[in-house]
C-alpha cells in the first residue's frame, strides 16, 4: 500500500470542471466597465531610423481616447539581466525588426483603434538590414545595437581543458554541422493584456504569464512606481511553453494607455502578432566535433553554435547556454569546449521554448548514430557507454544526484521492441532513439525561491497561498494535491490563492521547470507546519503524543487505534478557543551556486536536480512523397517521483507532439527580407489529432532526495528526446543521416534521390 493518500494517484485536475463547462475565465473574457480597446502600431521595416512621428490626425479621430509614443515613457530599457537591457517598450530612435513597437492607441472600439493606427504617420529612414547570423556577424553596415561589435549579443565560452590533447588521443573523430530554423509556440490563447489603475493608483494587470512576479518588477521599473503598486492578477492561461515568462512591450503600452485615459484598456493580439510580437524559438547552426575511443566513449567534444537571436537580448545568456547544458547533463565527456554565440539580426525576438535546441540536440544524436555505425556498435550500446550516471559531476561542475538515465533507455528499448526491430525493418521503415536531460531550475538570484502561506478557516478548510502560476500544465492541481496530502484534507477543502503579486510572495514562476520542485515544496513545508500545529491540539484532546497521530479524510487519528480520532474542523476550532490560529508559512530556496553566472562564470551547481528522458519512435516513410507516418512512440522519463501519473502522461504526450511530431517534421518559419511568411495557424503546420501516433508512456522514479516526495522536472526531457528520436527514425528509414531539420518531405525526397543516384554511379 502506498504511504500517501493522494500523491502518486491519478487525480483528475481541480481546474478542469470550470474548463469543460466554458466557465473558466481567460484574459480576453474579462469585461470591465468602460473598457477601451488598445492596439499597437508596429514597424513595417526590419531596420530603420525613426525620423518623426505625427499622431495629430489619429488623435482627432472621434472615439480615439489616447495615443502614446516613446516620448510618453520614462525611457527605461528592458532586459532579463543588468547587462542585457537593450529593449525600449516603445521605440524612439530606431526600429530593429518588422513588428517593433512604435506607438499605442486606445479607442472606444477595435474599428476606431485600427483606423487610428493607419492615421499615425511615422517617417522612417531605412537602414541596411541583416537576416542571418553569419551575414550579421560579417556585416559592415550599421550595427543593430551600437555597443555590440559584429552584432554578437552573447558569447558563452566553456572549456574544461585537455580538449585538443584528447582529440589527438581519439580513435575516431568526426565533425558535422546541423541547422534548424526558427519555430514558434502557437499557444492556443493569443497574447492579450488588460490593464487598469485602481482607486489607489495601483496598476492592475491580467495577462497570460509564466510568473506574475516576473511581470510586476519590470512594470514597476518602467513606471518608476514601487512594487506594491503593481498587482498582477490571477487568470486562466491558455498555454505558455516558455514564451510568456518575460514582460511584453504590450503590457507596458496597455498600462500606459490605461494611465492616460484613466480607464481599463485591453490589447488583444492577432494570431500574426502573437507569432512576431512575443517570442520565437532560435534558429541555430551547430557544429559538433566529437572524438571517441575504440569503444565509442567520448573523449573530446567541441561544439560551436550560432543562434539567431533576433532584434533584442531577451533571455539571451540563458538561451545560449541551455542546449549545451542539456548535452553535458545527458552525456559524459572527458573534455569539452563550447562556444555559443547569440547573434542580433533584424528579425523578431527569440526566447526560450520547450523545444529550444532541437537542431543542436538532434544533430548530436545523429552524429552519435554515425559514430556507432562507423565503429559497428549498436546505437543503444553507444548511448549506454556515454550517458550520465548518478553521483557524477557535469562538465560545468554540477553534482548530479538522482539519475536513472540507464533505466529509461532499458525501459524504452524493451517497451518499443527495439531489439526485434532495429536493422530488421522493411525498406523505408525506421526506428530511432533520443536521450536528453533537463534542468530543474536555473540560478535566479533573489527570484530563485518560493514561499507559501496556509491559513485555516473555522470550518476546517484551508486557504493555500502560493506565487506558482498554472499555464495549463496543472500546477494549480499540484499545489492542491500536496496541501491536501499533508493536511489530511480532501482536494475540495483546499482553496488556492495563487499567481497574484498582491497576495503571494515572490516565486520563480513557471519557468525553468521548477514549479513543483520549489513552489510545490514551499507548500509542502508550510502544510507540514500546519499539520504539526493541528497534531499538537489533537494530541491534547486525544491524550496521546503528537508523534502517534496521522491525518486523512478530514480526520486526525491515532495510527494504531484509528477509532481514536478528532475531526480537523474540531481541532481548528479548539485551537481558536485557545487563542491560537492555525496557519503557517513555508519557503524553499534551491541550493545552487550563487556565483555561477551564465557568461562570466558558467561553472558551479546549476540546480539541485536534473531529469533524464528517452524516446524511441518508429516511422514509415513514403519514398514517393516524402511523407512520414509515425507508427508509434515510446516516451520514458526519470521524473524522480510521479506526483500524478495522469497529469504527467499528458506532459509526455504533449511533448511528443510538440518536440517530435511538430518539432522534427513540420514546424518552422519561412522568411522574406525579415518578414515572417507563415504567421498563422493555416500556414504554420501544427500537429493535428489525425497526425499523432500511439504513445506509450513509461515513468521511471529515481526519488530525488531534494525534491518534494522525490519529484523533479517532469516532461521536458521527453520534448527534446522526442525531437532526437524522430530524427533518428527518419534517418534510419531512408538510410541517410540528415543535417537539416525539421525533416520536411522536400528534404526527405532530395536525400532519397541523392542516395539513389550515388548508388547508381
Amino acid at each position: 500500500m502506498s504511504e500517501y493518500t493522494l500523491i502518486g494517484k491519478r487525480m483528475p485536475r481541480v481546474d478542469s470542471r470550470a474548463k469543460v463547462m466554458g466557465k473558466a475565465k481567460f484574459t480576453a473574457d474579462l469585461k470591465l466597465p468602460g473598457l477601451l480597446v488598445g492596439k499597437v502600431k508596429r514597424s513595417p521595416y526590419a531596420h530603420a531610423r525613426i525620423l518623426s512621428i505625427d499622431t495629430s490626425k489619429a488623435a482627432s479621430l472621434p472615439g480615439v481616447k489616447s495615443i502614446v509614443t516613446g516620448d510618453d515613457t520614462e525611457g527605461i530599457k528592458w532586459g532579463v539581466f543588468g547587462y542585457t537591457r537593450d529593449q525600449q517598450f516603445i521605440q524612439t530612435e530606431k526600429v530593429r525588426y518588422i513588428g517593433d513597437e512604435v506607438a499605442g492607441v486606445a479607442a472606444v472600439d477595435e474599428e476606431t483603434a485600427l483606423k487610428a493606427l493607419d492615421l499615425i504617420q511615422v517617417e522612417y529612414e531605412e537602414l541596411p538590414a541583416v537576416y542571418e547570423p553569419m551575414e550579421a556577424m560579417a556585416s559592415e553596415t550599421e550595427l543593430i545595437h551600437k555597443d555590440f561589435p559584429n552584432n554578437v549579443n552573447v558569447h558563452v565560452n566553456i572549456d574544461t581543458g585537455n580538449v585538443d590533447e584528447n582529440f589527438e588521443k581519439a580513435y575516431y573523430v568526426r565533425e558535422d554541422t546541423y541547422t534548424a530554423p526558427e519555430e514558434s509556440y502557437f499557444q492556443a490563447e493569443p497574447y492579450v493584456v488588460v490593464a487598469n489603475f485602481d482607486h489607489e493608483d495601483c496598476l492592475e494587470v491580467w495577462c497570460p504569464n509564466g510568473g506574475p512576479h516576473m511581470k510586476s518588477k519590470p512594470l514597476s521599473n518602467a513606471f518608476k512606481i514601487p512594487l506594491h503598486k503593481v498587482k498582477i492578477k490571477k487568470i486562466s492561461i491558455g498555454g505558455a511553453f516558455g514564451g510568456r515568462s518575460e514582460i511584453c512591450p504590450a503590457d507596458y503600452i496597455c498600462a500606459l494607455l490605461a494611465k492616460k485615459t484613466k480607464k481599463p484598456v485591453r490589447i488583444q493580439f492577432t494570431r500574426e502578432e502573437n507569432t512576431i510580437g512575443t517570442r520565437q524559438g532560435h534558429a541555430m547552426i551547430t557544429t559538433h566535433k566529437t572524438g571517441v575511443d575504440r569503444e565509442g566513449r567520448v573523449l573530446a567534444r567541441e561544439t560551436t553554435c550560432y543562434m539567431d537571436g533576433g532584434a533584442y537580448s531577451s533571455t539571451g545568456p540563458i538561451a545560449t547556454s541551455v542546449p549545451f547544458l542539456s548535452m553535458e547533463q545527458v552525456y559524459r565527456m572527458e573534455s569539452v569546449r563550447y562556444n555559443g554565440y547569440r547573434i542580433y539580426t533584424n528579425k523578431p525576438i527569440r526566447g526560450m521554448i520547450r523545444t529550444h535546441g532541437r537542431g543542436f540536440a538532434s544533430g548530436l544524436d545523429t552524429q552519435l548514430d554515425m559514430i556507432a555505425d562507423h565503429l559497428g556498435i549498436d546505437p543503444i550500446e553507444i548511448r549506454l557507454r556515454n550517458v550520465r550516471k548518478p553521483g557524477e559531476y557535469t562538465s560545468t561542475k554540477s553534482l548530479v544526484g538522482s539519475c536513472a538515465m540507464d533505466e529509461t533507455i532499458h525501459t524504452a528499448v524493451e517497451k518499443s521492441g527495439w531489439k526485434e526491430k532495429f536493422g530488421k525493418l522493411p525498406p523505408f521503415h525506421g526506428i530511432g532513439i533520443g536521450t536528453n536531460s533537463v534542468q530543474t531550475g536555473f540560478p535566479m538570484g533573489i527570484r530563485g525561491g518560493s514561499q507559501s502561506f496556509i491559513k485555516f478557516n473555522e470550518d476546517g478548510e484551508a486557504f493555500v497561498m502560493s506565487g506558482v502560476v498554472d499555464n495549463g500544465q496543472g500546477n494549480d492541481n499540484m499545489l492542491v494535491q500536496i496541501a491536501a496530502e499533508e493536511l489530511g484534507l480532501l482536494p475540495e477543502d483546499i482553496h488556492l490563492v495563487s499567481a497574484d503579486t498582491e497576495t503571494t510572495s515572490s516565486d520563480p514562476g513557471s519557468y525553468s521547470q521548477v514549479s513543483t520542485f520549489v513552489g510545490g515544496q514551499a507548500v509542502q513545508i508550510a502544510a507540514k507546519k500546519c499539520r504539526k500545529k493541528l497534531f499538537d491540539v489533537a494530541a491534547k484532546i486525544l491524550k496521546v503524543e503528537p508523534e502517534t497521530l496521522n491525518a486523512e479524510n478530514r480526520m486526525i487519528f491515532v495510527k494504531d487505534t484509528p477509532e481514536k480520532s478528532v475531526s480537523i474542523k474540531k481541532a481548528v476550532r479548539i485551537s481558536l478557543l485557545n487563542f491560537t490560529s492555525v496557519n503557517a508559512e513555508g519557503g524553499y530556496w534551491p541550493k545552487v551556486d550563487m556565483k555561477r553566472e551564465w557568461v562570466k562564470n558558467p561553472y558551479g551547481q546549476m540546480c539541485e536536480a536534473f531529469s533524464f528522458g528517452t524516446t524511441i519512435v518508429e516511422v514509415k516513410v513514403d519514398p514517393e512523397t516524402g511523407q512520414v507516418e509515425v507508427l508509434n512512440a515510446t516516451a520514458c522519463q526519470d521524473v524522480g517521483k510521479a506526483l500524478n501519473p495522469l497529469v504527467l502522461e499528458g506532459q509526455f504526450e504533449g511533448s511528443v507532439a510538440m518536440g517530435g511530431q511538430g518539432g522534427m517534421l513540420t514546424e518552422y518559419h519561412d522568411w522574406k527580407d525579415g518578414r515572417c511568411l507563415n504567421t498563422t495557424m493555416l500556414d504554420y503546420k501544427l500537429p493535428l489529432a489525425c497526425d499523432m501516433p500511439d504513445i506509450r508512456c513509461s515513468i521511471v522514479e529515481s526519488i530525488e532526495p531534494k525534491g518534494p516526495y522525490g519529484a523533479k522536472e517532469a516532461g521536458m526531457s521527453i520534448a527534446m528526446s522526442a525531437a532526437q528520436a524522430y530524427a533518428g527514425a527518419v534517418c534510419n528509414a531512408i538510410g541517410v543521416y540528415m543535417d537539416s531539420f525539421p525533416l520536411t518531405p522536400d528534404k526527405i525526397i532530395a536525400a532519397i534521390k541523392k542516395k539513389q543516384s550515388r548508388l547508381e554511379k
Binding site: R13, E653, C690
Partner: protein, 169 residues
C-alpha cells in the same frame, strides 16, 4: 453601420440582439451575450476553438455571420451540461486528463459531442477525423481521443474510467 435587431435561439433560450451585418456569431456570443466559453484562437477557421452547434452540426462561429444563425438552433459549450450535471463527455474529459490549459476544450467538446450524437461508439480513426479541425497545443491529443472513446462507454481496463465509476457509486 446600421444595426439590425434579430432573435437568436441559443441554448434553448430566445435572445434578442442588435447586430451589424458583418458581426460574426462568435462576436455576438462573446461580446453581447457573455457566452465567453467559445474562444477565438486563430480567427480564420483553422483552429476550431470557436466551434458551436448550429442545428446539431459543428460550425466555426468565427466564420459564421450572426445573421446566418437566425432561425437555427444554436448550442454553445455553456449549453452542454444540464445545470450542474455534466454530460458523459464532459465528465470523461475531466477523468481522462483531456484538459490542460483548457483554451481549446470548448471547441473540442462541441466537435466530439456532435460526433457522439451521430455515432455513439466511434473508433479511434473516426474520432481523429472528427477532431482534425480542432487544434490542441498542450495534450498531443492522446487523452482527448481516449476521453471521447470512453465517454458513456467505460472500459474495464482503463484506470481513468474506473475512477469515473467510483465517483458515480
Amino acid at each position: 453601420m446600421e444595426k439590425i435587431k434579430i432573435i437568436l435561439d441559443i441554448n434553448d433560450m430566445p435572445e434578442e440582439v442588435e447586430i451589424s451585418s458583418n458581426d460574426t456569431l462568435l462576436e455576438v456570443l462573446r461580446d453581447q451575450l457573455d457566452l465567453t466559453g467559445s474562444k477565438e484562437s486563430c480567427g480564420e477557421g483553422a483552429c476550431g476553438s470557436c466551434t458551436i452547434h448550429m442545428d446539431g452540426k459543428p460550425v466555426r462561429s468565427c466564420l459564421t455571420l450572426a445573421l446566418e444563425a437566425e432561425g437555427a438552433k444554436i448550442k454553445t459549450v455553456e449549453g452542454l451540461a444540464d445545470g450542474d450535471q455534466l454530460t458523459d463527455l464532459q465528465q470523461s474529459f475531466i477523468d481522462h486528463g483531456a484538459v490542460q490549459c483548457g483554451f481549446c476544450t470548448s471547441g473540442m467538446l462541441m466537435s466530439a459531442d456532435a460526433l457522439l450524437k451521430d455515432n455513439p461508439k466511434p473508433d479511434k480513426t473516426q474520432i481523429k477525423k472528427a477532431l482534425a479541425g480542432n487544434i490542441c497545443r498542450c495534450t498531443g491529443y492522446t487523452k482527448i481521443i481516449k476521453a471521447v472513446a470512453h465517454a458513456g462507454n467505460p472500459r474495464e481496463d482503463c484506470p481513468d474510467c474506473q475512477h469515473d465509476n467510483k465517483q458515480k457509486e
